[in-house]
């Protein structure tokens, strides 16, 4: 999978590139809008991560020109502006998702995976982790072929783990993904929800899916 990262801030593109490469993606970077536009037209690119504030031409223009050139590669917008107008404008121009800085890498990765899965069609709409099967379209969850009822938040939590499979995620990233409102990191909020999820998916000690990373967060292990 090849991802194009159009971002002028070298340090930002640096850690995103390294993080994505760790997840075995091929990452190409462009530092300004014009170069990004040119590279984005290449058919081998599977996903474009696009910053809005760019030298040369700005991100929204890059997006518009890509869509005008009939390039339908999924685009994930990154921006420091979070005015709703911009968000709606970006989505109207054909962006597929939108992320406001600062974001956690886990969140970025989750969205990247969701977008790539959506574009590579149905067969990957079902995620399997050991004997846990999750239909990412219908939100149905099965373990050992037994259906499991999850609340919206519990499902969101599980999906976040699946999209970050085999990667440790910290509590703050989890909380930000599942709850939109301000979160006090001092509470054991996330732990309580994870324990509930664990109970529901019968996460027993001998066949554990969600592992605790001491002092940091959690990890969903597929092996």
């Amino acid at each position: 999978m090849k991802i194009l990262l159009i971002e002028d801030e070298k340090k930002v593109s640096g850690f995103i590139k390294r993080g994505l490469e760790n997840e075995r993606y091929i990452v190409e970077t462009a530092n300004d809008g014009l170069v990004g536009l040119e590279m984005g037209c290449h058919p081998t690119i599977d996903l474009i991560i696009l910053d809005l504030m760019l030298p040369g031409i700005d991100g929204l223009t890059v997006l518009r020109k890509l869509r005008e050139a009939e390039v339908h590669t999924p685009v994930l917008i990154l921006t420091a502006k979070d005015s709703i107008d911009d968000r709606i404008h970006g989505l109207n121009l054909g962006a597929d998702d939108y992320m406001v800085k600062p974001f956690s890498f886990g969140e970025l990765l989750a969205r990247v995976r969701a977008l790539l899965r959506r574009s590579s069609q149905q067969n990957s709409m079902i995620a399997t982790v050991k004997d846990l099967r999750v239909n990412l379209m219908t939100h149905e969850v099965f373990r050992d072929e037994l259906p499991i009822e999850l609340t919206a938040k519990e499902y969101a939590l599980l999906e976040f783990f699946i999209n970050n499979a085999d990667r440790a995620v910290n509590r703050i990233s989890i909380a930000e993904h599942v709850w939109q409102y301000d979160f006090d990191p001092g509470t054991n909020f996330v732990d309580v929800y994870i324990n509930r999820l664990r109970k529901k998916i019968n996460d027993s000690v001998e066949n554990k899916l969600i592992h605790t990373v001491r002092g940091y967060g959690y990890i969903l292990k597929t092996k």
């Binding site: 995103i16 420091a80 800085k101 939109q180 409102y181 301000d182 006090d184 990191p185 509470t187 054991n188």
Partner: protein, 486 residues
Amino acid sequence: MFRNFKTRISLWYTVLFSIILLVTLLLSYKIIGYQLKREIRSNLEAKTALVKRTLQGEYEEITEEHSEDETHKYAEKNIKEDNSEGISLLSSGHAGHRDKSIFNMIRLVTESADNNYAVFVFSGDNLTYITPKYSRLLGHISHLKSYSTPLQELDIEGVPFVVSKIKQPKFTIYLGYEMSALKSLEGRLRDIFLVIFPVSLLLSILCGMLVTQKTMDVIERIDSTAKSITSSNLSKRIAVPKGDDEISRLIGTLNSMIDRLESSFVQAKQFSQDAAHEIRTPLTIIRGEIEELIGKEGVDDRSILTLENVLEEVQYLSSISERLLMIHNMDTRNIKYHFEKINLSELMKEIYQDVQVLSMDKNISVELKVEEDITLDGSKELLSRLLWNLADNAVKYNKPGGSLWMQLSKQRNHINITISDTGIGIPEAEISKIFNRFYRVDKSRSRELGGSGLGLSICKWIAELHGGVIKVNSEEGIGSEFTIIL
């Protein structure tokens, strides 16, 4: 009393005006009286001089005007008339022809001008002549002889006179001028002034009120416009009237003050927005680098703990920058939030679940009472933030083992949301300020609990954005109750 500036100004105006009016009237009364009297006195002095000259044998000058015959005729005629009235004492023998003509001259001199002159002639102690018109004063003029000053004002039987004395070897002549006309003129003048004064005073009060009213109108217009200019409405200006007078200059000054205010407000807002934007990229980098570091193999547990703490602070900074931007959005009002139909009952239940988890540490019992299927057009993101902020506060400021109630009900057209707690409460003096930006009741404690002083002002804004209001009831030490009416 007289708190009203307008009343005070009118009062001052009236008092000053009435003093001026009173002084003017009194002065003109006095001056007019004085002038008239002076004129009378100088006339009398002139007549006296004339009579003196006549007596010194200079009456030829006068007779130039009247022929001897005419004078005689005139005198005889008058004497006859006098005689017929039985008053003249000239016929008492010892007055010669020359004397007679002198008397006639005196009469001619005095009576030709106007008939207010009186002549009294004494020969020794005997009154030898009196102007017929004043014969009624006959018995009352003896005291004249006691006066020696050249001009003397006196009353004779109630008739005011100014009298001059001409001493001759044979006679003493008194020339008198009756001042009744002057006195009655003065009386009339006084009457007129007594009418003018209250009328003018009344008019001045009315004028004063009118003038101050007009001035106040201008000031009130400035005031009401200035009042309508608030921090979110600084683009408004007071209308400047035509011309270059004090008022338009004052308005100009106020407007330029608002200009400066607006520009500094805009700068402050721009700064907070820019700052919030600017710190986002570095925050993203810090966060990304830390997360990457934590994920690496071979990092020891202590470092992970430290990094985790740093990460929490980064997250706190991010939420502050987010709130600052939200505050900016509140002010500019140019953001259209995406409103959709929201099941408020379900939203309350979701929040309730989270609050339950949150309250476990402090062993707080949370009670939920919702009516089913209450819906509302709104922004789910903002409404959950509103409910969460209030519930979060209700947990944070609660006592261990306390209670928290969440209620949702619908009454006719209103949706009522109540979130109440058994917490520390809000001091009465602080209640009005808690919705202010950056306001924190207990500064030291609030930061510890993650408060930035923006939460409640955001809550208020969200409630208002949804056409509602937010109210608070609180008693220190007992608890607080926040009610949102939508």
